[in-house]
């Protein structure tokens, strides 16, 4: 028996998903499309040409007021002071002990900073932000007011140019306010698939119009609506983490290979603890692994060839592009070198695999 939780939130594009006959699920309190024509087909369409995703469920916060930049700088592992107008930065927010609150995108807008954060971490993030923000800082939750559409794939620029003007000067992690089919939107060159692509923020009352407009523009390139199922297989092929799955409140960013998002020359909450962890050495390391046969999944044990547990799978699937099982998981650092043979226990049976370098797939971007 299955039923949809009746108090799940709906995005402004819910009507579109129903119209297209999407299979829906509840994800982090949102009623979202898992797939329309099928996960494999949607995944391949994104790599081959273009796909369009509703990602309106992502938490969106407008942060403003006196001292906002200092506040964001203090809570971010990355250097927020480097942001100029219309720039995007990826950062981690940590607690004093170095454990993760959330990973977020920070967008510098004209009158505020926009934080785009994980729907699944909202319950952890919001109280923590409230606790740490100085008086005078205003945090406005605009999640329900703004829709967000992700257009991803090699034909993304050609498609969006038709209705939004030239995007040649919008490089990766840059944004701009512009009209898309005559409607004011904020467009960033960004995404979670590894392909070239854009995330389009628009006021909720124009969401359907923008969706239809993009679909029409993309028809000549066989644009495919794509759901959360393909979103997950695409990001996994790239080795991108999902906070809440691959990195949670008990983990630190060093273990999750995110040292590149930490700028040691600046101050931030959790810095001392992370320096200490770096000095002492990590207890576990997030790695990519592939299997010869079988599909690794969240929670499956990773073992050495003698059957001793050495870790756990955090995210796993079959790679639609590669045709074999791939996973992210934590292992004892002694087993983290690419090429190391490991087993994943699937239904009690050890299935042979090896640690591999990330990404699993070389995307075109």
């Amino acid at each position: 028996m299955g039923f949809i939780q009746i108090n799940a939130l709906r995005t402004p594009l819910y009507g579109v998903h129903k119209r297209l006959g999407a299979r829906m699920t509840v994800f982090s309190g949102w009623e979202m499309p898992v797939e329309y024509s099928g996960i494999l087909e949607e995944h391949r369409a994104v790599r081959r040409s273009i796909g369009l995703f509703d990602v309106s469920h992502m938490n969106k916060l407008e942060v403003s007021g006196q001292g906002t930049e200092e506040f964001l700088q203090r809570i971010s592992t990355n250097d927020i002071s480097k942001l100029k107008l219309d720039m995007v930065k990826y950062t981690i927010l940590c607690r004093d002990d170095g454990t993760v609150v959330d990973d977020v995108l920070v967008l510098k807008m004209l009158d505020y900073y926009m934080l785009v954060t994980n729907a699944g971490r909202k319950e952890v993030l919001m109280p923590w932000l409230e606790e740490h923000k100085p008086g005078g800082i205003n945090i406005k939750d605009v999640t329900l007011n703004l829709a967000c559409l992700a257009l991803q794939g090699p034909k993304a620029e050609k498609t969006l140019t038709k209705i939004a003007g030239s995007l040649r000067n919008t490089s990766f992690f840059r944004g701009s306010q512009r009209r898309v089919s005559g409607i004011e939107c904020y467009v960033t060159r960004s995404g979670y698939t590894g392909e070239d692509g854009f995330e389009i923020y628009v006021s909720k009352e124009h969401a359907e119009e923008i969706w239809d407009s993009i679909i029409e523009a993309g028809e000549e390139f066989d644009i495919t609506p794509a759901g959360l199922g393909a979103r997950d297989t695409l990001r996994l092929e790239m080795g991108y983490i999902l906070t809440g799955m691959d990195m949670t409140s008990g983990d630190n960013p060093l273990e999750a290979n995110l040292e590149w998002a930490i700028k040691w020359y600046k101050d931030f909450i959790g810095k001392e603890a992370l320096l200490e962890i770096k000095r002492r050495g990590m207890k576990k390391k997030l790695v990519g692994l592939r299997l010869k046969e079988g599909i690794p999944r969240h929670g499956y044990t990773i073992a050495d060839h003698r059957g001793n547990k050495i870790g756990m799978v955090t995210s796993g699937t079959i790679s639609p592009c590669l045709g074999y099982g791939i996973a992210l998981g934590y292992v004892d650092p002694a087993f983290s070198a690419p090429g190391t043979g490991v087993n994943v226990i699937i239904r009690g049976k050890p299935m042979r695999g090896e640690i591999v370098k990330l990404p699993f797939w070389e995307a075109k971007r």
């Binding site: 297209l20 006959g21 996960i39 087909e41 029409e216 997950d232 297989t233 599909i295 079959i318 239904r347």
Partner: protein, 141 residues
């Protein structure tokens, strides 16, 4: 011409002449053996099937027992025996073409053939009509 991008949400097919389980397996009696697979409703609910794990020839199981697994991209699902018996044949095609279960669940997507222990067990299964009622109820939820 505007392309109609619509998910194939046709009514799930139910074949006459088959027996069905509440867990969405079907059984067909043919020349003294019973052929087993999963229904059109089941494959539709699972989505793209990427792996089918079946027992070896000679394996015995009783009615209702777990005899294998079918994996879609996102989920693992157990297969339950409609009747008890011994496996006499396994559909080897599913190793390299698990998608046959999606495209032809009652034909090329068949899973195992068993030698049944007890013909009486067929009486415990659902008729096509009763199975149809079951999935109508499920779709209304």
């Amino acid at each position: 011409m505007k392309k109609e991008i619509k998910r194939k949400r046709e009514k799930p097919k139910i074949l006459e002449g088959l027996y069905y389980t509440k867990t969405h397996e079907w059984a067909r009696v043919e020349d003294g053996t019973v052929i087993i697979g999963i229904t059109d409703y089941a494959q539709g609910e699972l989505g793209d099937i990427v792996l089918v794990e079946l027992p070896k020839i000679g394996t015995s199981f009783s009615i209702g027992a777990e005899f294998g697994y079918v994996e879609s991209v996102k989920a693992v699902s157990e297969l339950y025996a409609p009747v008890g018996g011994e496996v006499v044949e396994v559909n080897k095609k599913l190793e390299s073409q698990p998608e046959l279960v999606n495209s032809d669940p009652y034909g090329e997507g068949w899973m195992v053939k068993i030698k049944m222990n007890n013909l009486e067990e067929l009486k415990k299964l659902l008729s096509p009509l009763d199975y149809g009622k079951l999935i109508t109820e499920l779709e209304e939820e």
